[in-house]
Amino acid sequence: MMENFDMITQTFVGQIISGYFGTVAFAIIFGVPRKFYNVAGIVGAIGWTVYVALQRYCDLTGVEATFCASMTITFASRCFAVTEKCPVTLFRICGLIPLVPGAGIYWTIYYLMANDFHRALSTGFVAIKMVIAIVLGMVIIAGLPNKFFKLLEKKKKIANS
């Protein structure tokens, strides 16, 4: 029973909630204005949901899931940047934090120092692949024309009026 309760963080809902609050915490550390906390959190939660869902239910590898999540986050932050009228950077930085392969980099260095070169190589390569996946995901969405996102703005105006 105790073990089950301990792993409550690993349920799907637990992961989404963690994604939201983790991103909000980072938004605070990076000095994002208060009114954008919620949106930043939503972007982070969406990205992480995609990442976890693809891995758990579609059997994608971590790198592939990272790629899709990176695309989703960049897309969501561009949409929110238009509707909230603020720089894209804000949401993208906060949203991408969970995907940055910090763990991979730390373990690589640890295995290197511990002379376990085989594991150092394999974790190191996965970390590099993840960085490339993040970059590619960002680039593809960054290539979408601005006009596409401006549509959102107009729609919102009509909805408001």
Binding site: G19, G22, A25, G31, R92, A114
Partner: protein, 272 residues
């Protein structure tokens, strides 16, 4: 309708100042360039040239084109170089200057007012220390969960994140190199996790550590660096990415050193 051309040096000074604050607080090169151009153009400088790196702004301009038909007009020249250290970023300043530059474009400010507004933005105090510390702990808690830790691991990460940020706040006012700061920070966070594991509070050491050191992660430098590379600002992007890599390396060394010492006591490599 543009304003009457003011002194070129004032207009470009203003633009450079805005660029300085933007760059220091984690904006992409393309955004800095765009904002500076927007401000300079509105205040009547059409021949301003900016060359922007991650650590510096080079700005020149002249008024040759302004009054071509006036024979008595003496063209002015302006040149300025600013060095910008890579320091901690504050995204709220980026947002406000972005907003300000748009308002300037709509003619809501005179040059003096804009200058004052810039000073106000630049002197905005950071978030209170305890808020930052708590959010560091909360961030550690939830990131430990994101990377696969159970509830007990998350609790340990929370405490380690708090302690880590208290250390960062204490040390950040001293002149300490970035590498050393992150290295010692990671050593402290990892040590807290190791102690917690020995006391039987946590379950999985790897998850606890990754959660605890996450507040140090150079997220802004990393993302902006990639963004600059994609925008073909290769020099600036490389500078940012190297900055990020140095921080990553510092953290990784801190974690690895502590784990190595621990594994000497335990014998063999620790399974993570």
């Amino acid at each position: 309708m543009n304003q009457k051309p003011t002194e070129i040096s004032d207009a470009l000074d203003l633009a450079t100042k805005a660029g300085y604050i933007l760059l220091q607080n984690g904006a992409e090169i393309s955004r800095v360039e765009e904002t500076m151009n927007r401000i300079a153009k509105y205040f009547g400088v059409d021949a301003g040239n900016f060359f922007i790196l991650s650590t510096g702004i080079f700005c020149t301009g002249n008024t040759r084109n302004l009054k071509k038909n006036d024979p008595n007009f003496k063209p002015e020249q302006f040149a300025d170089v600013k060095y910008i250290p890579l320091k901690g970023s504050r995204l709220d300043k980026v947002v406000e200057i972005n907003q300000l530059s748009r308002e300037i474009e709509q003619g809501m400010y005179t040059l003096e007012e804009a200058n004052e507004k810039l000073d106000i933005i630049n002197q905005k105090p950071p978030k209170k220390a305890w808020i930052q510390t708590v959010s560091s702990g909360v961030g550690s808690f939830f990131f430990c969960s994101l990377f696969g830790g159970g509830l007990r691991d998350c609790m340990v990460s929370f405490v380690a994140g708090l302690i880590l940020w208290i250390f960062v706040m204490l040390v950040s006012h001293q002149h300490i190199s970035k590498l050393l700061l992150n290295l010692t920070g990671a050593v402290i966070a990892t040590a807290v996790c190791v102690i917690a594991l020995e006391l039987g509070l946590g379950v999985s050491l790897g998850h606890m550590i990754i959660g605890s050191v996450i507040p140090l992660i150079p997220g802004i430098a990393f993302t902006i660096g990639i963004r600059d590379l994609v925008d073909e600002d290769y020099l600036a992007g490389a500078t940012r990415l190297i900055d990020a890599v140095v921080v990553f390396f510092g953290i990784a060394m801190g974690v690895a050193i502590t784990l190595l010492i621990y594994s000497r006591f335990m014998g063999g490599i620790i399974e993570l």
